[in-house]
Subunit: 330 residues, 2 copies
């Protein structure tokens, strides 16, 4: 089985690559090759039985995308995207990469002909939804993106569903919650503090909380995200019918509840490193984000959310310790 990961150099792409390498098989079939593609060359694991390859390029270039599927990978993960903030500022670039890139991929797959119908896992986003919302967004709430990124992801969903309906590809689109706790350095994303208020205190550093502790958000751990991708790659898509895109299950949790969890797991002293410093710009942005979902459909077809936020924090600590980035507790 040959696997192509588009967007392999990102945080989720790297974790997915590692998980696939560790398992060595997918759906009971041995993985023979993993090709990781991204704008920069991803660092790939080394393993005896799997042939790893990394390449770099631009998915807004049609010829590049055609080359990616020329050897007919059995499973394709399409994680690549210009993120929300950048797509909003760089209008043409966002449409070129997030919309045209996705279409080029679908077209390149279709161009391979009738005998080729790979599983394609497409990462969409809860940014396909825009305020005003009901208390819980259910599985048949309409897509009303309020960002170009959200519009591009929603268009990707429609294309994925139509190309799947026509039998050109076997697609599954998954709308990821905000991934928390993201490892690594703080970034400038408006959602960055959801990770920062956990990650920085655990590393002994101060973290800024720009919103009120009442703010509710929809989150999943990096490990849960990789679990969603694995399940989307192996599930029986007959269960989905024509509706190929699913809101992934997450935890709906307030910032206050996150901080309580941090106290339970790492102690009051660690949690005291969070400093509340309201930022009106971030407050406004976050106010337009969805807070809670009823993701019944995804749960019914086997997607699993994190158990609770305490275990998300514990998993982050374990990952960081393993990576040598955090002194072992005690």
């Amino acid at each position: 089985m040959k696997i192509l990961i588009i967007g392999a150099a990102g945080m989720v792409g790297a974790k997915l690559t590692k998980r696939l390498a560790d398992e060595g098989q997918l759906n009971g079939e041995a993985i023979t090759a993993i090709h990781g593609f991204d704008v920069v060359e991803a660092s790939m694991p080394s393993s005896g039985s799997i042939s790893f390859a990394a390449s770099a390029g631009d998915i807004a270039d049609q010829a590049t995308v055609e080359k990616l599927v020329a050897d007919k990978p059995d499973v394709i993960f399409h994680l690549a995207a210009i993120v929300s903030g950048e797509a909003e500022v760089e209008f043409d670039k966002g449409y070129a990469i997030n919309m045209d890139g996705t279409r080029y991929l679908l077209e390149a797959i279709r161009a391979q002909g009738d005998d080729y119908c790979p599983r394609l896992v497409f990462t969409s986003s809860i940014a396909v939804f825009g305020a005003p919302f009901p208390d819980k967004i259910d599985d048949d709430f309409f897509l009303t993106p309020l960002t170009s990124y959200g519009a591009q992801k929603a268009i990707g969903e429609l294309l994925l569903a139509d190309y799947s309906r026509k039998g050109f590809v076997d697609g599954v689109g998954i709308r990821l919650p905000t991934i928390t706790v993201r490892p690594g350095k703080p970034n400038k994303a408006a959602s960055g503090f959801f990770s920062g208020i956990i990650r920085e205190p655990l590393a002994g550093q101060e973290a800024i909380l720009p919103v009120s502790t009442d703010v509710r958000h929809w989150v999943a751990s990096p490990a849960a995200a990789v679990g969603f991708l694995m399940h989307a790659a192996t599930m029986d898509t007959a269960m989905l019918g024509a509706r190929r895109n699913l809101t992934m299950p997450g935890l709906s949790i307030t910032v206050g509840e996150m901080i309580e969890a941090l106290k339970r797991v790492a102690g009051e002293k660690t949690a005291s490193l969070i400093r509340h410093e309201p930022d009106e710009a971030i407050i406004r942005i976050v106010d337009g984000w969805p807070r809670n979902f009823d993701a019944s459909r995804a749960e019914e077809v086997g997607f699993k959310a994190d158990a609770d936020f305490d275990s998300i924090i514990r998993a982050h600590i374990a990952d960081e310790e393993q990576a040598g980035r955090l002194a072992k507790a005690g």
Copy 2:
């Protein structure tokens, strides 16, 4: 005020052109020019004060579309599309015209620069919805097209909303019900019988009814459709916020109720020209179509449905008499 109608040669386009010519103004401003564009040259009215022009070309050609907006029309109606059946068979052509054509138009408008932000009325379709449905589809039900045509229209809606949100265009997308009674010859559309069972008997000809009289459908008259377009061109779009696409109000009516109306308006003898001849293929297709909507949002912002089906039939008779296609009753 300069007006561009893309898709001017179609039935709705021609009726819209006539209505604009008759009124001579839009929103209190005199119409100085109407340019009708289509794949074939539309026949345009002649009028003293309005300069009419017709041209033919392909909206899947980017340069053609750029030329269309070069003189900065104040209001643009975009009615052009490959219809459902053709888009399903001609996959590339459907995407080229229905998706790329719409995007080229939006891009051509944006390319004119900051001072140009015309009203753009885009005709979408209830084909953006796909079964299974609730009894009534409300304004926040999700878009789940089951045809490539529906997917292309849904993508057009997302683009229209995003380009409007960014201030590049002032867009209104209207999802038209099935237009009934369509004048002219029977066509091969699966929905054709909804018009045929009224039009043919009124012309003294037999009509085939391929489905059961229990079948419920969502319809509007050609005149109501033109009314929707006029209102979309003149309404205050501030009422729409970021949600620029609306399901138009229609009549939810069964075939049996349509036939009862025909009896009331034209008599038992006319209605007896309808012959029931079940067609399994059409029954299956029609079964996947939406039947009923709660179009509250459109009604709240001033879109008006037909009063009842009797008046739709009477308006059709009056139109046909005026066109000399129907002997005057009595």
